[in-house]
Symmetry: C3
């Protein structure tokens, strides 16, 4: 895992983000923390220029609107032409028709190197019954040790059918290219009590795959391992009076300080 | 007070926020801190879908624009149809004609369970002379022990005339349904030195009333008591080198850690 | 330097910001930290109203779009009519044609008291070969002790030709009105590892010049000295487990606590 992290720090990839205004500041700071560099631009008249000078593109539909959807398509197609890795975060797919339809339209028009979502979002995109509850995965859908085999099969099938890496975060993470699946344990439940843990993971995964374009599956898995491990490190810093706001700071700090050796030792995964 | 807080933690209400991009991240984190869950969506093509799956709606006009104003109206009307509590935060009413007019249009088109603002904003909506200074209450308008009776009468009348709960924050808070008024003391002056203390209070109040729809007045008052108390708890954590940025973190942390017993003991209010 | 800082704290200038959604919360909090007060508004129907009640205007093109560009022009022209200091932050000029062209159009239509950018952005606006890399200055362009004379000449010429104060931040800052140049040393490299250090400096500089309209050059230089010094103070607070997220908090905290005497003693500048 360490080589994927180190490659981010060595190459400092510039990542173009078309993302929601809720967690955009956290996404920018986590990109800087992991060794990348962020730029945000969502006007159709400039997204092709911007994405051309970047190493990767992160499309997040968290607060999509009539102006940003065409910009996402333009940017994605240009990034494809440039050969840059592109990641989709289908925030809230399943929660509104606009989100589900937009995510599907984006997947039809753009070749995504990776799709990073929670299990409810992936189910919604797969056309399965999804219990999406807003932007969070529903407890009914949650990946557990009990339903792990079924969930892994679903994620693997989604990846294979869509010729992408499906990167699904939760209590147990699943990252699959349709042939192999990384099953990753780690993190801490408090990560669901801050806004943006999913968005930050998408931004960081975009940096990892942009720096490791020949190893999309492994790099995405490394980003997931890094985030889970940093969640654990951040949790250990918590004092009794700390809450989710301090945790957010500690999490980004942990990403800032994470080195390859710590990741190598702390990553907890199996390959199925 | 404790039962209203505990009901939020038990029911974990999903709150739809159409809010400004300045403090939106803080609003999301305070909703998670108090036990709720946030979703932000402001495109007219999805706000009705989104608000339908939520328990309450928080409309904040802090950075309103030509696209979000129609979305606010659509969402508010749908939430009314669904019977969900809806809160208005008329940020900057009085500071521009667009804001004052928009707040009034929203109040004509939507039934609001509560309107949360500062005294200058409420005066502007009441058609009174207001000394609004941007988005903050003007010192001239501030509610003090000296003008408390007049201010309470104004807030009570506003609530009665508009068939809503008027929830007015300041050095002394006033929360009235036109019949009874909670007069709440607490908080700390540094709360006006961070951005978003008002917006966060609105978001949290939306969660409290969404979880306690039969007790809008009491639940709004409980949210105000909780925020004031958490301001005091956060202030006590401040070290000499800390400033407003650390205070913001401590405030959200305090909301995260607040339990019903602490609120019950610490709430400082009279009912007029 | 101290008088410029103290004048901000005495007059508490209300600053109208039309700025990007990435760092807007940090800009609001640093304005409050330094003694000013923020308001954000970007709809064309209200920006003239809003800027009229303010003391200064901060225009930042970080996430410009088709709606905010006309609003920037309207607000800037109105602020000029009102005689309020106006600052331009040409974020990413050089990174897309839209940004370069928009920054130039703004400079043609509005009289700016100051333009705050990094050296790559200023070079792009000056029509020189620029190695802009996204929104950060490129290493190739960086102002160092070796190229200081050339860089100073460039910044001075830009200021003179545009009848503005050019305020260029980097490892060495240059603030010039075309006749005199403040050469300012200080800060810490970690400032480039948080998002928003440039945007925050622009917002704070807008407050300083709004409170000191007769001394634009000196006030801008004071804001730069204050930010550099606060970067050093924040760095000294860093514990081993801290990273860029904690640094951001410490930086804003340091601005909150900075007094005139500390600034006077700590400012490290020459006047060329």
């Amino acid at each position: 895992m360490r080589e994927y992290l180190e490659r981010v720090r060595e190459t400092s990839p510039l990542i173009h983000n078309i993302t929601n205004y809720v967690t955009v500041n956290d996404c920018a700071n986590i990109l800087l923390a992991c060794g990348g560099s962020p730029i945000m631009a969502d006007d159709s008249r400039e997204v092709e220029d911007i994405t051309s000078i970047c190493a990767g593109l992160n499309i997040n539909i968290g607060t999509l609107n009539q102006h940003t959807i065409p910009a996402m398509l333009l940017a994605g197609k240009r990034a494809n032409l440039c050969g840059h890795p592109v990641l989709l975060d289908p925030v809230g797919a399943g929660a509104s028709a606009l989100r589900t339809d937009t995510a599907r339209r984006l997947m039809e028009g753009i070749t995504f190197s990776a799709v990073r979502g929670n299990i409810s979002e992936i189910k919604a995109l797969a056309g399965e019954e999804s219990a999406a509850r807003g932007v969070d995965a529903d407890a009914v859908d949650a990946v557990t040790e009990e339903n792990l085999e079924q969930a892994e099969a679903l994620v693997r099938a989604f990846a294979g059918r869509n010729h992408t890496v499906a990167a699904v975060s939760g209590a147990i993470d699943l990252v699959s290219d349709g042939e192999r699946t990384y099953v990753i344990r780690g993190g801490h439940p408090i990560m669901s009590r801050i806004t943006g843990s999913g968005c930050m993971l998408s931004a960081m995964t975009a940096a990892y795959i942009a720096s490791n374009p020949e190893h999309i599956l492994e790099a995405a898995a490394a980003a997931f391992c890094a985030m889970g491990l940093c969640g654990e490190i951040a949790w250990r810093r918590m004092k009794p009076e700390d809450g989710n706001s301090s945790f957010r700071n500690y999490l980004i700090d942990a990403v800032y300080n994470l080195d390859g050796e710590t990741l190598e030792k702390g990553a907890n995964y199996e390959v199925w």
